[in-house]
């Protein structure tokens, strides 16, 4: 797929890897007969939210924190669509966190990619709900006093039927995860470890430390796999009636 020009991310930003992996995934889906027009992209507000500006797919920006309800609405309006959302740690774990719990609980057949860079990138480097305790940011010059949230763990315990963690530095693994997530029937949640070169440069740390895992056989194992933030790969997948199926069945 051709990339649109004039990318405004900082050179070296992890978002480039995510964009690349996604466009590879879209090409693969297209080769398999899914017309591009059926992949609908919704993005939140943040650096991650610029992604749809760089790909030629139908897309729109929601307001900050509301990617998931918009995806849900799309899927309900047209069940033939593949609604795909791009959100940030601020955009999904701070503002609008409630939507993740409900999307997972409902098991709507949509996919969410969460660019987890541990900061508000676009507003220039304040702490988010995933910033580790003690880290100094522009709103926590004294060190973040709060414990961070673990997005994959939250998705799991809320009932997501597909949970994975990818890494912006591993395109091959990430595009495979993206493909599996979009093809999954039910709510698919993918956390992507994304270095932010300007405000939270984790490239070195991730490059040395991330490891690959195999999907858990059972829920409890998935929980413990998700707890370690350096575990990447598909963590969990399960079959459950989707929201749309349940709606149709009860009609």
């Amino acid at each position: 797929m051709e990339l649109l020009k004039k990318i405004e991310w900082c050179p070296g930003c992890g978002n480039f890897g995510i964009l690349k992996a996604f466009s590879t995934t879209v090409d693969r889906l297209e080769n398999e007969g899914i017309e591009k027009g059926r992949i609908m992209v919704v993005a939140g507000i943040g650096c991650h939210g610029k992604l749809p500006d760089y790909i030629e797919l139908p897309s729109f920006h929601t307001i900050h924190g509301r990617v998931l309800p918009a995806l849900t609405g799309m899927k309900l309006a047209n069940p033939d669509l593949y609604p795909v959302g791009f959100s940030g740690d601020g955009d999904a774990m701070n503002e609008g966190l409630e939507h993740l719990l409900h999307a997972a609980k409902r098991n709507t057949d949509v996919t969410l990619f969460l660019h987890n860079n541990g900061v508000f990138g676009l507003t220039t480097g304040q702490f988010t709900a995933t910033t580790p305790r003690g880290v100094k940011t522009r709103t926590t010059p004294y060190g973040n006093p709060e414990e961070p949230l673990n997005p994959s763990l939250i998705a799991l315990v809320s009932g997501a039927t597909f949970v994975a963690r990818g890494y912006a530095g591993d395109m091959k693994q990430l595009s495979e995860i993206m493909y599996q997530a979009i093809m999954h029937r039910g709510f698919a949640f993918v956390e992507i470890l994304q270095p932010c070169v300007s405000f939270n440069n984790t490239w070195d740390y991730y490059r040395k430390n991330v490891r690959k895992i195999k999907p858990a056989e059972d829920f409890d194992t998935a929980i413990s796999l998700s707890r370690d933030l350096l575990n990447t790969g598909i963590i969990y997948r399960a079959e459950r009636e989707t929201f749309e199926e349940a709606m149709l069945r009860t009609k």
Partner: protein
Amino acid sequence: MRKVVRGFYAIAEAVRLSRPNVIAAYPITPQTEIVENLAEMYANGELGDAEYVTAESEFGAASMVLGASAAGARAFTATSSQGLLLMTEVLYNAAGMRLPIVLVVANRSVSAPLSIWNDIQDSISVRDAGIIQLYVESNQEAHDMLPLAFKVAENRDVLLPFMICVDGFKLTHAYEPVDLLDQETVDKFLPPYEPAVKLDVNSPVAMGCYAPPPYYMEFRVAMECAMERASRVMLEEFERWYELTGRNWGGHVVAENCEDAEVVVVAMGSVVALVREVVNRMREGGKKVGLLKIRTYRPFPSEDVRKALENAGKVIVIERALSIGAEPPVTADVKSAIFGLDAEVYPVVMGLGGRDIPRELVEKVIDDVMEGKVKPEKRFEGLNEFEEVIP
């Protein structure tokens, strides 16, 4: 002490000097630097007794200051645009609970389309909430209005939230010389906070309780009465401020060159400074033009506006927000204030979403009205030619 500082610092510094107990906020451009400055002051131990918290959202931030205020704390927050819209449900509630929260809005346009640039649609949208609203034209004014806001909001005759509206980027990020207040002066003006009511185990009260039809209306009308009293209380405090600091902000409005003016331009916020410049220059050229700055937008100073426009044949209202489907907001208020007078009113919408308002454009707008080239009806200036294409 006179210093060249940026708007966000002048605001944060005045918040600090007002000795708040709780500050809760969520970053959003262009408010972010205000709260970052406060976070830094907090880190340096300069915020006294205050607790500073970055909330999980604006909804959380507004709810935290509501809770803090109900528990008897002097509470502050700041936001912009979408953040203010998200706070709105809580702010209506805070006003109804009569909690004297002070907030600064760094004015920014609202979505969609997405824009971080300035107009005043955000704060205008909450004008009916029961919140006192001031629009400032300089960072000195923003700085001075903060202690004043706490003092007025906390007055037992008022007890309403107080919002200071500061144009995003144009003021918040501008470098301007500001006479920075010192603690002694502020302490002389603003006494330690004594809540009129608070949640207290020893004398329990319930706030925000259910009011069925036999009771509800009285609570809302009581807010209306408090807003009217706020008008007087503010004038008294402006006076006190003048005595204490030597800075005379006048009153709710500032009328310049209005007595004999054929055309008076009404404006709010940072654009006032530009209009003043244009008006003064036209005066030098012998044109009878005046300026009416509206500082207090809620409570709306109808009498002051009427008085200032008594002799004006023509009134131009510069609008930087819309009430889509109706007369622009300030125009509607001005028209009702001067009802029965002969003046013709020319609403001119400009500067939405950060669109530049050049000096020449303001000049042209005034000339067009003076020379009778335009009709007294809503107009858009600085607008590109466009065609709406509906696929």
